[in-house]
C-alpha cells in the first residue's frame, strides 16, 4: 500500500477557523424574527400527582403565546434515549404527564416574548399536588411497600413496574459457583460510584420553528439528529417528512446529548405558538433536568489459583436509572459485557438490577457503564495481585484477553437483545502496559502498599480497560459524495461532530481515498434533509462506522472518476491511480481532478456522485492502560494526582493530534469522577449542588501532568485500520488513582468520588490497626 498522505496526519480541524474566531456556529448563534423564549415549569416535588392545574393567569399575561400542560398534548409513551429503533429502553416517558417523578420533572411549559415574561408566566401557573412518598435510596427501591414510581398503565418495556425494577440482566458463562470451589483464593468486595453530570459547557438548547412550507425545523444541540426526528414525529404525531432537524456546531455532548431532552417540548411550543421558540437550559437545569451517569453499587467476587490464574468472576450490579429508564439495561449491560471479558475466565457471571428512584434521570455518558465496572474490577484485581504477591502488571498480562480470543459474553449481552461474539483480531494491551509503565516509572516509583511515616505519601497505580467501536450489528451510517467543477468534493454525512473532530477525521478519510488534498473535501454533516442517515455520535462509533461509510463512498466515487479519466488518458480505469489531486495512468501521463470534473460535467453531461452505507457485525475493542502517580497529604486527606499516563491502542490514528485530545479530555472528566464530581440530593430529592461552585469539575489549575501514548495497531474492520478512542480513556482513571492510593498508603478506597474526609478516615483506621512503623525517620522527607 502506498504511504498515506492525509490519514495519520496532525492536521488542523476543518471547522477550526470559525470556532477560533467566534463566528456564528452554534445553535444559539442565530436570531429569528418573532422568536419566543420557552421555559419549563419544574416540579418542586420528587414524587407527586398533579391534582389541579390552572393556566389561566399565565395565559392572560401579555407577551405569553403558549402554555402547555399534560391536558394540551398527545399522550404517547416513549423513551428519550437516542438509540436505534426499536429502542431497548422502556417506553415510560410522556411529553407532559399528570404525575411528576423527580424534582425538576416537567409540569408545564410556556413560550413568551422575553425570558422575564416566560418566568413570570411560570409563577402564574397554579398547581396543586398530591405529594407521594419519594423513593430515593436505590438499595430500598424494590422493598415491599415502597411507593411505585411508574404506576401508569400505558408504559411498556418496564421489567417489573410494581417493584420499581426498570430492567434486569442475568447471564452466566460456565459455572461461577463451581469455579469458586476450584479457586485457591476468593476475594469479594463492594464498590460504589456516584451520579456524575456531563457538564458540557454549552447547555442543552433547541430552536424550533415552522418554515415557509409549514415544516417543523428543529435546530438543536444533539448527538442524534436522526433519532430526534423519529422521536419527535412519534411524540407529536406528525410524519417524519414534516420535520427537518439541523445540528450546527455543538458545545460538547459526552452522551448527555445522546438523548432527546428538550427537542419535543420546544417543538410542541413552536407548534402551539406558531412562532419560533428557543428553549435553553440554565446551568442549574442541566444539573436537575438533563441526564446523569448511573450511580451503581457493585459487588464483585473473584476466584484465582495460587499462580494468579482467574477461574471465576461474578459481578453483581445495582444501578439507579432515576425517574425514567433511558439506556437502563444497555448501560448496565455494558458494565458486564465490556468489563468482565477483559480477563479470561472459564466461569463468568453477571447479575444486574436497574431500579427507578425519584431522582434526575440517568442516561448515556462517555464510557456507558464501563467507568463503574472498571473501577470495581481493576481495584479488585489489584487487591488480589497484592494478596498473591504478584506484580499488578504481571497479573493483568497473565489473565488479559488477547489476539485470537473470542469474547462470548458480548454474544449474550447485546444492545437489549442477543448480541454478537467479539473476535479479538488485534490487541495492543501488552504494548500499552509496557510503554505506560516506562512513562510512569513503574520499577522505580512503586511504594508497595505500606504506610511509611511522613506528611506526604507517594505511590503509583495501574488500571486496564477496553471499550467497543460501535454497536455490532446495530450502528450504521450513510455517506454521499459529489464532484464539483474545480475538483473539490461535497461530502455529506449524517455523522455528528460534537466537538470530537469527526468532521475532520471523515474528511481526511475521504481525501485519502480520493487522492486529493484535505481542502478539496467540503464536509456537511448532521442535517436530516441534506445528509444521509446516521445513528448518531455514540458508542465510539463515528470513526469506524461513519468512517467506513465515507471510505466506501469515496472509493466508489474514485472509481467513477477513473472511468472518465480513462477516456481522457486512453487507459483502462482499473490501471489508474489517484494522488495529489491528479489521476495517473501507468506511463506517468496524468490529468487533474478538475479537468476530469469539467470533462464529466460538460462533455459527458454526468454528475459524478456516489453514496454508501456501512455497518459492522463486530465491535473491535480499543484497549487502554492507565497509570497514576499520587501524593496524599496525611494531615488533610487530600489526594493530589501528579502524573497521569494514558497508553491507548486505538487502531490507526486518523488524526493523532485529535486522538490525543480525546484521551486527555476523557482523563480530565475521569479525574473529576474520581476525586470530585457527584450530584448530591437532599432528603427531599432536591439537587443541593446544581452549580459549578458546589459541583467541581477540573480546571487547568487542577490538572496533573498528562502523558498520552498512542499505541497504533491495524484493525482489519476499521477504515485505514482505525478503531476508536473517545470513551476508553475515561475508564481507568478511577481505579488507577485508587490503586495508587493503596500503593502510597496501604488503604483501599472503594467509593467514588474519593473525598479527603474518606481518605483521612481510612488513614486513621489503618493507623489505629497498626501504628505507623517506628524507626523509619529517614523516609519522612520522601
Amino acid at each position: 500500500m502506498s504511504p498515506k498522505r492525509v490519514v495519520g496526519r496532525r492536521v488542523r480541524k476543518v471547522d477550526g477557523l470559525k470556532l477560533v474566531t467566534g463566528r456564528t456556529a452554534f445553535t444559539d448563534d442565530i436570531d429569528l424574527p418573532g422568536m419566543l423564549i420557552g421555559k419549563i415549569l419544574p416540579s418542586p416535588h420528587a414524587h407527586a400527582r398533579i391534582t389541579r392545574i390552572d393556566t389561566r393567569r399565565a395565559k392572560a399575561l401579555p407577551g405569553v403565546h403558549a402554555v402547555l400542560t399534560y391536558q394540551d398534548v398527545p399522550r404517547v409513551p416513549h423513551t428519550t434515549a437516542g438509540q436505534a429503533w426499536p429502542e431497548p429502553s422502556p417506553y415510560d416517558t410522556y411529553l407532559l404527564d399528570s404525575k411528576v417523578r423527580h424534582v425538576g420533572d416537567r409540569v408545564a411549559a410556556v413560550a413568551a416574548e422575553t425570558r422575564a415574561i416566560a418566568e413570570e408566566a411560570l409563577r402564574r401557573i397554579d398547581v396543586e399536588y398530591e405529594v407521594l412518598p419519594a423513593v430515593l435510596d436505590m438499595e430500598h427501591a424494590m422493598d415491599k411497600g415502597t411507593a411505585v414510581i411508574h404506576d401508569e398503565p400505558d408504559s411498556t418495556g418496564i421489567d417489573d413496574a410494581s417493584r420499581n425494577l426498570a430492567g434486569e440482566i442475568h447471564r452466566e458463562l460456565g459455572n461461577a459457583e463451581e469455579g469458586f470451589r476450584q479457586a485457591d483464593l476468593v476475594v469479594e468486595r463492594e464498590y460504589r460510584t456516584p451520579r456524575q453530570q456531563h457538564a458540557a459547557i454549552e447547555p442543552h438548547i433547541v430552536i424550533a420553528w415552522l418554515d415557509a412550507d409549514d415544516r417543523l425545523v428543529i435546530r438543536t444541540s444533539t448527538q442524534i439528529p436522526f433519532h430526534v426526528r423519529r422521536q419527535v414525529a412519534m411524540i407529536l404525531q406528525i410524519p417524519v417528512s414534516r420535520i427537518h432537524v439541523i445540528k450546527p456546531r455543538i458545545g460538547g455532548g459526552f452522551g448527555g446529548k445522546q438523548e432527546m431532552v428538550i427537542d419535543d417540548i420546544c417543538a410542541a411550543l413552536a407548534l402551539a405558538a406558531r412562532r419560533p421558540v428557543k428553549l435553553e437550559y440554565t446551568r442549574a437545569e442541566e444539573f436537575t433536568m438533563a441526564r446523569t451517569r448511573h450511580p451503581q453499587v457493585l459487588r464483585l467476587k473473584m476466584g484465582v489459583k495460587k499462580d494468579g490464574t482467574i477461574v471465576a468472576h461474578h459481578m453483581k450490579v445495582l444501578a439507579a436509572t432515576g425517574a425514567y429508564g433511558g439506556h437502563c439495561t444497555t448501560v448496565q449491560g455494558n458494565t458486564g459485557s465490556k468489563v468482565l471479558p477483559l480477563y479470561r475466565s472459564p466461569n463468568l457471571k453477571f447479575d444486574c438490577d436497574v431500579v427507578y428512584v425519584n431522582a434526575p434521570p440517568a442516561g448515556a455518558f462517555r464510557g456507558y457503564g464501563c467507568p463503574q465496572g472498571f473501577f470495581a474490577q481493576e481495584s479488585l484485581v489489584d487487591e488480589i495481585a497484592h494478596q498473591l504477591g504478584m506484580d499488578p502488571i504481571a497479573f493483568r498480562l497473565k489473565n488479559a484477553i488477547r489476539q485470537g480470543d473470542t469474547d462470548e459474553l458480548s454474544a449474550q449481552l447485546g444492545e437489549g437483545r442477543k448480541g454478537l461474539p467479539r473476535l479479538i483480531r488485534i490487541c495492543g494491551l501488552p504494548q500499552c502496559l509496557e510503554q505506560g509503565a516506562a512513562a510512569i516509572g513503574w520499577k522505580e516509583k512503586r511504594n508497595g502498599g505500606v504506610r511509611r511515616p511522613g506528611k506526604i505519601l507517594r505511590g503509583i497505580g495501574v488500571a486496564c480497560s477496553m471499550q467497543g467501536s460501535g454497536i455490532a450489528g446495530v450502528d450504521f451510517a450513510g455517506a454521499f459524495l459529489k464532484l464539483n467543477e474545480d475538483g473539490s468534493f461535497n461530502l455529506q454525512v449524517g455523522a455528528t461532530d460534537l466537538g470530537t473532530g469527526s468532521d475532520t477525521v471523515l474528511a481526511q478519510i475521504a481525501a485519502e481515498a480520493l487522492g486529493v488534498s484535505l481542502d478539496k473535501i467540503l464536509i456537511y454533516s448532521s442535517d436530516t434533509d441534506f445528509t444521509p442517515f446516521d445513528v448518531g455520535a455514540y458508542a465510539s462509533s463515528t470513526t469506524i462506522i461513519s468512517g467506513g461509510a465515507v471510505k466506501k463512498a469515496a472509493e466508489k466515487t474514485r472509481d467513477a472518476v477513473c472511468c472518465f479519466a480513462a477516456k481522457m488518458l486512453d487507459a483502462s480505469p482499473e490501471d489508474l491511480t489517484c494522488r495529489d489531486d491528479r489521476i495517473f495512468a501507468p506511463g506517468g501521463k496524468s490529468v487533474a481532478m478538475s479537468e476530469v470534473a469539467m470533462f464529466a460535467f460538460y462533455k459527458e453531461k454526468t454528475q459524478v456522485m456516489e453514496g454508501s452505507s456501512h455497518f459492522n457485525t463486530d465491535s473491535p475493542p480499543p484497549f487502554c492502560a492507565q497509570f497514576a502517580e499520587v501524593a496524599i497529604d496525611t494531615e488533610t486527606g487530600q489526594v493530589k494526582v501528579e502524573h497521569l499516563v494514558t497508553a491507548v491502542d486505538l487502531g490507526v490514528a486518523i488524526n493523532p493530534m485529535q486522538a490525543e485530545g480525546q484521551a486527555e479530555g476523557a482523563v480530565a472528566q475521569g479525574l473529576g469522577y474520581t476525586l470530585a464530581e457527584e450530584i448530591v440530593l437532599d432528603e427531599a430529592g432536591r439537587v443541593v449542588n446544581a452549580n459549578f461552585c458546589d459541583y467541581k469539575i477540573f480546571t487547568a489549575k487542577d490538572m496533573p501532568k498528562l502523558t498520552t501514548i498512542l499505541v497504533e495497531t491495524e484493525e482489519p474492520l476499521g477504515p485505514y485500520g482505525a478503531k476508536s478512542i473517545a470513551e476508553v480513556p475515561i475508564n481507568g482513571v478511577g481505579p488507577a488513582v485508587a490503586n495508587a492510593i493503596f500503593d502510597a498508603a496501604g488503604i483501599r478506597m472503594r467509593r467514588l468520588p474519593i473525598r479527603p474526609e474518606a481518605v483521612l478516615a481510612a488513614l486513621r483506621e489503618a493507623g489505629a490497626g497498626a501504628k505507623a512503623r517506628p524507626g523509619a525517620g529517614a523516609g519522612a522527607a520522601r
Partner: protein
C-alpha cells in the same frame, strides 16, 4: 455615567438590531462603549447583563455557560482585563473599551494565539475557545513570556470539558514563544507570523 432617557416611544431609541419588545421602557439607559475599537451607542435596560447585550448586538462569540461567573465562557476584555460578562451590567461598561473574540484577528490574518490554538489541537468543541483566546491575549499583554503556572492560572478561569487543558496550555506557551506577547510591536508580530506562515 449612563444617561437616563425619557420614556416616550422608547422602542425607537433602541440601538439598531436590538429589536427587543421589552426595551424602550421608563428606565432605558444609553451607554457609549468602544467594541473592538469601534464606537457604539447602545440603549439598554438597567438590569441588562453585558453578556446579553453583546450577543444581542451581534457579538456571538461571547458564550453563555452558567450565568453566574463560574465557567468563564462569556469572558471579554474590559479595558484589557478579562471580565465575565455575565457578572457585569451593561451599564457598567459605559465609557469603557471592550474586546471580544471578533476583534482579535485582523481582516487578513488570525492572531498568533488563534493560529497556535489550531496548530496545537487546543480547540475541540470550540465553545470555550473565544474566552480562552481572550484571556490569553490579556495574559500575554501583561506577561509576554509566562511560565506554565501562569498560563494555568489564567486558563483556570475558563472551564473546558473537552481538552483536559493540555493542548490549550501548550498552545498558549507556543503563542508566547512565537511573539504573541509582542503584539504592540508590529515588526515582531509580522516576523512571528512569517515564521508561522512558512510552516503551514
Amino acid at each position: 455615567m449612563p444617561r437616563r432617557t425619557t420614556h416616550r416611544a422608547g422602542g425607537a431609541k433602541n440601538a439598531a438590531g436590538s429589536g427587543r419588545a421589552s426595551h424602550g421602557a421608563v428606565n432605558d439607559l444609553v451607554i457609549h462603549v468602544k467594541v473592538n475599537g469601534e464606537a457604539r451607542r447602545w440603549t439598554t435596560a438597567p438590569g441588562d447583563l453585558l453578556l446579553d447585550v453583546l450577543r444581542r448586538e451581534g457579538y456571538w462569540g461571547v458564550k453563555r455557560g452558567c450565568e453566574s461567573g463560574e465557567c468563564g465562557a462569556c469572558a471579554v476584555l474590559v479595558d484589557g482585563e478579562p471580565v465575565n460578562s455575565c457578572l457585569m451590567f451593561a451599564a457598567q461598561a459605559d465609557g469603557r473599551s471592550l474586546t471580544t473574540v471578533e476583534g482579535v484577528a485582523d481582516r487578513e490574518r488570525l492572531d498568533v494565539v488563534q493560529e497556535a490554538f489550531l496548530d496545537h489541537g487546543a480547540v475541540q468543541c470550540g465553545y470555550c475557545t473565544p474566552a480562552m483566546v481572550l484571556v490569553t491575549r490579556a495574559l500575554l499583554a501583561r506577561s509576554p513570556h509566562p511560565s506554565e503556572a501562569e498560563v494555568r492560572e489564567t486558563l483556570g478561569g475558563v472551564f473546558c470539558r473537552c481538552t483536559g487543558y493540555k493542548k490549550p496550555v501548550e498552545a498558549v506557551l507556543a503563542a508566547a514563544k512565537a511573539g504573541g506577547g509582542e503584539r504592540s510591536r508590529p515588526a515582531a508580530r509580522r516576523a512571528a507570523r512569517a515564521g508561522k506562515g512558512a510552516r503551514r
